[in-house]
């Protein structure tokens, strides 16, 4: 049966989600139109109870759109992420087994584990991402941003994605891991190939390419880990190798999975935070003016960017047993998705949520998720975004969009929301 056939089935006919309201037709996370402008349909859903069901590729999926319900889902101990807990014939396992899906590997990553296994692995890498550790990277991140800006010096039109948003996060995470930043083009390609294949579980060509990319990346890390075992350094790979050798704290397979995850997760999302955030900022000339007058607002501006235009649309869990989800009865092993982009605009929590305002007082959002899976790289992402934009605004006395915001090219599909390109018209600051 093809995915198209699946979608014509009535999701609410499944007894595990009986009685739940259908999501409106405009709710389609796989379509570029939805990704470009999801806010109107999400507002309708929040006002229509905030709990809906739709037919995803692999069965019915409940989607939550109100802040309180999304936050409760993320913190709930009655849901799980580890697909190995599903029945052997469950279609959601297909596609996450190593042979089927390039993002998967013999050892699940912390994204696909529950407590206590998740916690053991996360603690091993946590130290590299604490506020203190990330703050120490500040001068180096500024240097990288300046060097990337040097590479486009003299041009009065630049693609922000290609010039800064794409390369900077890869260089930073490569240096943290201790791999050669010169390999970054390769990393980016592996990363994108894997994510793309993950987005289209029905496209066998993409799956094949994704699998090849995963194998290539695995072989690469296998080599680097062997080198670090011989000659450890101060980097994150050496720290993991040390943990591996100190006994049963980390298996070799777990090390490889962790490295793949750190590289991938450190890539696309920060790239998209930068792209989406700058697009929002430049679409509001009054806010740019406020920032020019008060450059110290940049940290707050990044918080508002995270709330207003998050790089991840939502995140999912699976019910461990029959239970009430947001007040509605839902059966066992039902996929439930929390729409983070919707929660961030819930007027119950955020005043005047559709207004982009970098001077807001307390900025609340769920863009880094919540509960034990709260983004490991949150502090790093914030810092990278702030420093990159600071250096950009320092370099150019004038920055304008070279496209109409309504014509921005969004990448479609899956849980991610980001731009293909962000062309800017820039004027270099003179005399300093």
């Amino acid at each position: 049966m093809t995915a198209t056939d699946d979608r014509t089935q009535d999701p609410a006919a499944d007894p595990r989600v009986e009685g739940l309201r259908h999501a409106p037709g405009g709710y389609d996370p796989t379509s570029v139109d939805y990704v470009a402008d999801p806010h109107e349909v999400l507002r309708q859903m929040r006002e229509d109870g905030g709990v809906h069901v739709y037919q995803a590729h692999q069965g019915p999926r409940v989607v939550l759109t109100r802040w309180a319900d999304v936050e409760a889902l993320l913190r709930s101990k009655d849901v799980f992420k580890d697909v190995r807990k599903l029945a052997p014939d469950d279609p959601r396992r297909v596609g996450v087994l190593p042979d089927e899906n390039p993002m998967a590997s013999a050892a699940p990553s912390i994204l696909g584990l529950d407590a206590p296994e998740h916690d053991r692995l996360r603690r091993l890498v946590n130290r590299a991402f604490t506020p203190r550790a990330v703050e120490a990277l500040t001068p180096r991140i500024e240097e990288i941003a300046d060097r990337l800006l040097d590479e486009v010096a003299g041009q009065d039109e630049i693609d922000f994605m290609e010039a800064l948003a794409i390369p900077l996060p890869v260089i930073v995470i490569s240096e943290m891991l201790g791999v050669d930043p010169e390999d970054r083009a390769q990393f980016k390609q592996w990363s994108l190939t894997m994510v793309n294949s993950d987005l289209r579980p029905d496209d066998h060509d993409r799956i094949r390419r994704g699998r090849a990319a995963r194998q290539a990346m695995r072989a690469y890390f296998d080599r680097v880990v062997a080198q670090r075992r011989e000659a450890p350094g101060e980097d994150l790979i050496s720290a993991l190798v040390l943990a591996e050798e100190e006994g049963d704290r980390l298996t070799h397979e777990e090390t490889l999975t962790m490295l793949g995850l750190l590289l991938n997760a450190g890539n696309l999302t920060t790239t998209d935070l930068l792209g989406n955030g700058l697009l929002a900022l430049l679409s509001h000339p009054g806010q740019v003016e406020a920032l020019r007058e008060r450059p110290e607002l940049m940290a707050n501006a990044v918080e508002e960017m995270l709330r207003y235009t998050p790089p991840v649309l939502g995140t999912g869990r699976t019910t461990a047993h029959p239970q009430e989800v947001a007040g509605c009865p839902v059966g066992q092993h039902v996929s439930v998705s929390g729409s983070v982009i919707s929660a961030n605009r819930d007027p119950e929590v955020v005043e005047d949520p559709d207004r982009f305002d970098i001077t807001r007082d307390e900025i609340r959002y769920l863009s880094f998720g919540g509960g034990i899976h709260f983004c490991l790289g949150a502090n790093l992402a914030r810092n990278e975004a702030r420093l990159t934009l600071e250096r950009l605004f320092h370099r150019y006395s004038d920055i304008r969009l070279a496209v109409d915001p309504a014509q921005a090219e969004w990448r479609g599909g899956g849980a991610f929301r980001g731009l293909e390109r962000l062309p800017l018209r820039v004027t270099t600051r003179t005399g300093g």
């Binding site: 604490t130 203190r132 919540g370 034990i372 709260f374 502090n379």
Partner: protein, 64 residues
């Protein structure tokens, strides 16, 4: 007067609380936050709530 309680088992060391309210909490050597005072004055209540909200795992609570 309000007291800030940290559930060390629930804490994931994300550092969000002491990033938003460094005056009220500081990390120990395991990167788990420790309140900077036994009790806080009433006028700190809003700042304490900020820290509680910032925690992604709900590891912070206010006790009277």
């Amino acid at each position: 007067m309000p007291r800030l309680v940290v559930d060390r088992d629930t804490c994931m060391s994300s550092g969000q609380c002491y990033m938003v309210q460094p005056r009220l909490l500081q990390p120990d050597e395991e990167d788990i936050p420790v309140p900077t005072a036994e009790e806080f004055p009433e006028e700190d209540r809003e700042a304490l709530m900020d820290a509680v909200h910032a925690c992604p795992t709900g590891a912070l609570s206010i006790q009277e």
